[in-house]
Amino acid sequence: MNREGEQILRGVPISKGIGIGSPIFFSDTEKEISHILIPQEEIEKEVARYRKALELSRKDLEHLQNISRQNSSAEIIAILDTHLEIMQDPMITTGVITRILETRQNVESIFYQIIEEYKVRFNAIQDVYFKERIRDIVDVSQRILSYVRPLERIRISEMPNHSIILAHELVPSETVEANASLISAFITTAGGLTSHAAIIARAKGIPYVANVDIKLLKKVSLQSLIVDGAQGLVIVNPTRKTLKKYQDLKKEHIANYKLLTTTAHFKAETIDGYEVRIFANLENPKEIDLVHKHGAAGIGLFRSEYLFLSKRKFPSEEEQFEIYKQMVKSLKGKPLVVRVFDVGGDKKVDLHPDMADAPYFAAIGHEANPALGCRAIRFLFRYPELLEKQLRAIVKASQYGEIHVLIPMISDVSEIRQVRTMLAKVREDLQKEGYKLSRDIPVGCMIEVPSSAIMCDAIADESDFLSIGTNDLIQYILAVDRSNPHTAELYFSTHPSILRVIRMIVASAAKSRKPVILCGELAADPSMTPILVGLGIREFSVAARHIPLVKHTIRKWRVLEVCRLAEGALEYTSSQELKEYLLTEGIR
């Protein structure tokens, strides 16, 4: 790869949109050094940060020397003396500063490069004694680095403006903290179209391209980047012309989206007046304002596990109660559907063995097949105290508004019975404790496993509502790993089997007169929305920022038309043909 000039890399398109900004290499491990391009106006600050670190390290050493003078050997004093000299070596002082100014890279990155260069040079020395001197240099460098470290602990929620995050992989707990107004785009090596990080990136509207060799990019001198999330392109050091083209494109996107949001607070009605209710999915309770702003009918899916994933600790009953209470209060009568903790499987975080909640996961250990493993309701039944606390918090908060409970990954009807029994016990306990409990709390089942889809009539009978989780349902029906790049092309959200299964679920629910809400990204695809309405779905839950688009799409159709569209679609037997049909007939 050339070191200069525009380069175009092709990756896998994950989340649409145009991102323009400067690169930030986000380290996966704490040991790794971050590589950041410093904006011209902040370069002086960066130099000052280094000078400060040098000064602190020097004071440190002088202090050590003073202590040693009283009670240490001449050897140690001499070593400290040498270290002080190394610290004041022009190659460490002006050498590093000159390089910061020249390359506009962060201190850690420069420092790391320089030390690596010395390692190479010292390694070439034959004489063992001289060769070993590198240890002193490394020692000094670590002291200095420990004082520049603070920037390394940078959190994804505190990135500078126009950051483009480059990482080997993004974990959901980090992605959920990302602020779309600061982060222009994500680029990763690993991670597929349907990983949780991908879903969140799309929900937040952060452009994302995966399957890009980050290590390769680390070797290039990066000035600026453009990420085209729709095409899956990463443009390195774009020319002025390319930059202009993408800036214009971005402006156009923003203008279009603004136009859609102006009508977001109106109902989603078909031309002939059928109302479809659009709810919002939510991960971060702080983002509840978006729900109102984009005209949601309520929260159709609160992914409560993010309370755990973002803090790496299960929230206490009291903490949960406060969160749910604030949420329902702010919803002012609109419903809040809390999906109980859907953890385990691919929704794990690396917990340090010392952390309080680590034993929950350690006891399960490594699973050869996490998607089919101890996750969601299975995990909660294994640790009923977690579920009980969560149900208690929900029941207590239900005095302040309308809360529904949603059970993830139901695969047998006995599981909802078990949850109902536990819920009844929790209510009884709370009543004994003196809480006044008003209404019953509706309990719904997530239909996302083939067995529950097949047994949907029985499950619908015993549930208050059903929720179709399309992301998982598609993965399990097609037996395609959502995050495996080698099978990603087999993951067809438009597979005919998916349409048939949705039709089946809608029919079963209708028989027991239970509402069905469809969650998942399928709903936000403008070529899919009409079909889904045609299949009988009357409630959707999508990321808040997609609501304006979904509403806009629904308003373009008549009910009769979408039913015909769905009927037509059900006649196709191959996913490719169905996809083509949808692209020609389903988009207006």
Binding site: A78, E85, M91, F122, I125
Partner: protein
Amino acid sequence: MKVASKVKVKNALGLHTRPAAFIVKLLQPRKSMVTFTYKSETINARSIMSILMLAAKKNAQILITVDGEDAEATMAYLISAFEQEFGEK
């Protein structure tokens, strides 16, 4: 003014950390630019790391070049330091 002179490393361990630190300290109050040349490599004698990287052992021949207003005095100090084996004798 610019002066140059060849010196021999006499101390047993060569230009290791302590002599290197000694040289850097000695040069701190001096104003001239000082370079050492050894085995076709020329380095800034105010940099302890650069001196170490020369890996100059006992009996190595170093070419000292001093350029500046106090060149002669600086050179005299340096030659004496090499002669005295940097106080290790």
